[in-house]
Symmetry: C2
Subunit: 343 residues, 2 copies
């Protein structure tokens, strides 16, 4: 039996859902993978941090954070943050879940570097480091004989990166096309039932899908960063979000959407990329989708991606009802894939 020391950097909805998943799966991890875990560090944005080399009481930590108190009360070491926190935690696996920074990928990149340099597996749900430092972090991971994994950055916990890493050996990705931003898809779905744009945005904010400033989603930035991540990792062509030809959903009117519905069609914010010679044409833009397309049935916060390769017909992955629990599963799967040999 191997015991892994886990470090949580960021402990919001996703970090807490991961902690709960780990607790629920503890017996299964032992019986199926012969592994156990302790949590040696948790750093939060608003509830302090705690370090205990002998292992924190994870259940107690969840209760402290959920009741709005500070973790300092259960820490065995003085409070530190960021890179210093990682360096102070004895650990084997770092889950980096601090807020995303689209422009630079920082401070997440520095956190993940520090984790790898300390010999930890580096796992994140944060898209910034993937588009801004994929090569650098992957090379550093290889050098340290560790992994830099980030399954949850695109389509939450649905297996996308691991699909190409494991299940599709020798396949060359030629193009993809999909609906990857939950917020805009939910807004468009609400508008199909007659809601005005502003009301649909308010609804998405109310259920915790959209940010207070929804422009990152509405203007297509979140979609563009996902396209950039997929192109960078799966096509091996470094691409920044700013290099994606991007149009948001802001110009779509309720009349457009209702007219499409009458014609048995739907507006979707479509993400796509196509390899051309050694370059790539990448786009985010609203498209009118007929009922015969697999994209048509993707409603609300669900998402889809269709891959074209040199070895299969079009292959699509569809994920319905994502949320913090499914993002947490992506991190959990990355952890197992990083440490456990495949069965």
């Amino acid at each position: 039996m191997t015991r892994y020391r886990l470090v949580f950097l960021g402990f919001g909805n996703v970090g807490q859902a991961l902690a709960q998943l780990l607790l629920r799966k503890r017996a299964e991890l032992l019986s199926l993978y012969d592994l156990d875990f302790s949590v040696t560090g948790i750093a939060t944005g608003r509830h302090g941090s705690a370090i205990d080399p002998d292992g924190l009481d994870l259940q107690a930590a969840l209760e402290i954070v959920q009741s709005g108190r500070s973790l300092e009360s259960i820490s065995k070491q003085p409070s530190v943050s960021g890179v210093e926190f990682i360096q102070a935690c004895p650990g084997d696996v770092c889950f980096e879940n601090t807020p995303v920074n689209y422009q630079s990928g920082e401070p997440a990149i520095s956190h993940l570097k520090a984790a790898l340099q300390a010999g930890m597996q580096a796992i994140t749900a944060n898209k910034g480091p993937v588009v801004h430092a994929y090569r650098e972090l992957t090379d550093l991971a290889a050098q340290m004989n560790r992994r830099f994994y980030f399954e949850s950055t695109v389509m939450d916990g649905a297996p996308i990166f691991s699909l190409f890493r494991g299940a599709l050996p020798g396949a060359e990705l030629r193009s993809f096309r999909g609906v990857l931003n939950s917020t805009t898809n939910l807004i468009l779905t609400r508008m199909e039932t007659g809601a005005q744009f502003a009301d649909a945005v308010a609804y998405a904010q109310q259920i915790g899908i959209a940010e207070t400033d929804p422009s990152g989603d509405v203007d297509g930035w979140d979609a563009a960063i996902k396209v950039a991540a997929l192109v960078t990792v799966l096509m091996g062509i470094p691409l920044l979000p700013g290099q994606v030809d991007r149009t948001g959903i802001g110009a779509l009117t309720l009349a457009d959407i209702q007219a499409a519905k009458q014609a048995n069609q739907r507006w979707k914010l479509v993400c796509s990329a196509k390899r051309q010679d050694n370059q790539v044409v990448a786009q985010v833009k609203p498209e009118l989708i007929p009922a015969s397309s697999p994209l048509y049935a993707v409603e609300g916060t669900s998402s889809i991606i269709e891959f074209k390769t040199d070895v299969l017909g079009p292959l699509s992955i569809v994920e319905a009802n994502p949320g913090p629990d499914t993002t947490a599963y992506g991190l959990f799967a990355d952890f197992l894939n990083a440490v456990a040999a495949r069965s």
Copy 2:
């Protein structure tokens, strides 16, 4: 660099497509996986067999078979068949692609056992051995430190078994639902455009999808054997095709299908299974599908499966335009997954 000696048992459309794929990918296998291959044996149903421990000329073998001649001309050893052929071939990987036997799984089971006992990886596109001898062959493979893989048995080359083996660690499959039989889906799609049942069957036969006797597809047997394979492998509950509650598409009339179309719905032959306590309820039956379902857009020979697990929302895999090339890719992927450590 490692060189693998490959043995082909069965060399019809799929075996030939696999040979072509291997030849096309040879340079890539060397550069990406540091591996090469030779083909030490090919046994066909109607064109004899050939064995050469030093490696046959695969391109020449393809031409011989495609021109209708016998492989005996290039063999270095006397002609043998079946288990004796496997025992006579020095090999590391056996691709078993003889015709499926729904009742017993033989002679494929004996072929795969002989391959494993001879120290070969056992890879097949044949559903019979999966439903009739999954446990036995998997245990024998483990004992010999080899693999028994069969990705192409369900949804051709689309990653289904490898998804759960690798990309979804720790996920418990609770239920699935899908359209898994290409022939009936093609027939139903043709009938939506006004074709009579008999004409639709004739069309499916003409393009090489349906058998001369189409009852295995039309009566739901092929779908039932796929359900049995998925339940046996992914849910760990041994299930035989006869234990699947099975209704074919024979009772559907053109009027039924046209009426559905008018209502913006479609008839699909739906495969499903649901875990209940330690048992499973498994079914193949025509269902009326609304446009809001991901099953609706699955036309012609395309297929879909939706998985419900304890860790993600519903996750669907859709494969469009399957054929011998995509089945061949499933075998190719099994080969790489069996011999190469993941990257």
